[in-house]
Symmetry: C2
Subunit: 211 residues, 2 copies
Amino acid sequence: MAPGGRPRAFEPEVALDAAVETFWRHGYEAAGLAELTEAMGISRPALYRFFGDKTQLFRTALERYIERNMGYVENALAMPTAREVAEAFLTGNAEAVTAPGRPPGCLSVQAMVTDEADVFSLLAENRRAIQGRLTDRFRRAIDDRDLPPDEDAEELARFLITLTTGFAIRAADGEPRHALLALAHRAVVVFAQPGSAEHRKAALPSPRRDS
Amino acid sequence: MAPGGRPRAFEPEVALDAAVETFWRHGYEAAGLAELTEAMGISRPALYRFFGDKTQLFRTALERYIERNMGYVENALAMPTAREVAEAFLTGNAEAVTAPGRPPGCLSVQAMVTDEADVFSLLAENRRAIQGRLTDRFRRAIDDRDLPPDEDAEELARFLITLTTGFAIRAADGEPRHALLALAHRAVVVFAQPGSAEHRKAALPSPRRDS
DNA sequence: TCAGTAACGTATCGATCGGTACGTAACCAA
DNA sequence: TTGGTTACGTACCGATCGATACGTTACTGA
């Protein structure tokens, strides 16, 4: 019934990668259609025909970014001990946000500062998903006696996410890889060394509930 | 010789505070003139006559933001020990980025994601200045035998700045105050590295300064 | 009363934003 | 060749961006 029409004049994956890099470097709003189309090497209507509007393009770009540049998350979650999970997660992130030949920082964080509610919540959901997987992993570590029984798995996960968020901003700020790696190695001391579970007593005077 | 003309119809400080809040909530680029003028309660030409262009307004707003919402920095630097400096700095920041009645997060961080080079470098300079003062403080702590002689003062300062940067983003992300405070208390254990067990004993909840 | 001065705000500037209408070009099947 | 189909890109849309021109209003001192 319907034979193929005129063939595409560009490689969708190449164009998408260019979009990823543009969003990565400038965030969502600051990445204009003009810059996007120029980087992707296609015309504006071509972008809309293949990728939908700017928001949909960003969704697709974020998916690709995650699967191509956030592999360190899976890698870290597969580590045998909680401490190794944390170290792999932090160092993997430090390396990802300072990858040579790529924009410094993290697409998710660069694009987070936006008024577009759907883009923001998309990124928030992604971050929450990772934090949830880390939490689950640390809960398992508690069950396995790899972490103290009174340890707060959710708080540990939140600590890691918060630190990597900071890494992303600092990398965009020009901080070199070795500096972030040093911070990563330093931060894992928060994961109690075997035999010293007492840091929690000293560190937490009393739980506070104010907002 | 020159008599006064028509009197001003607005309070400059009130208008400036409104500008601070707008930049705080949306960052630099996303805070449009329409929103700024509406929040400030003045017309567009009035803004330009009194505050110069948008960049100059931002400079002034940043100055005011620093002097009104970053008092915790001075407070922290005045603490007697390195660990207390760190704890006061982190908790002070956690409280500042979750201050009730104010936008969550930090103006400096919200506005950091921008293409405007001069705004970016202005913020980077501010961050570097704080990091420098923390570094100096920790160097002094090393001289005073308050920190181990082989400690890296600059790295400690970088650790704190990176963490507070993360706090700012997470606060904007909706993280409640108590969660960030818990992270703050947890993070100061890096100041009780193995080998100096007595740093740990002295950990007490420090006096608090709300601004 | 009146000239001088300065802040007021409407109405508008050119540039750029995200998004499309539409005529054209390139493929396939008959 | 011809009709159907699909991608191509120029040229444009209304809205909004930051920034101003300019006529008006309110105050002061002579």
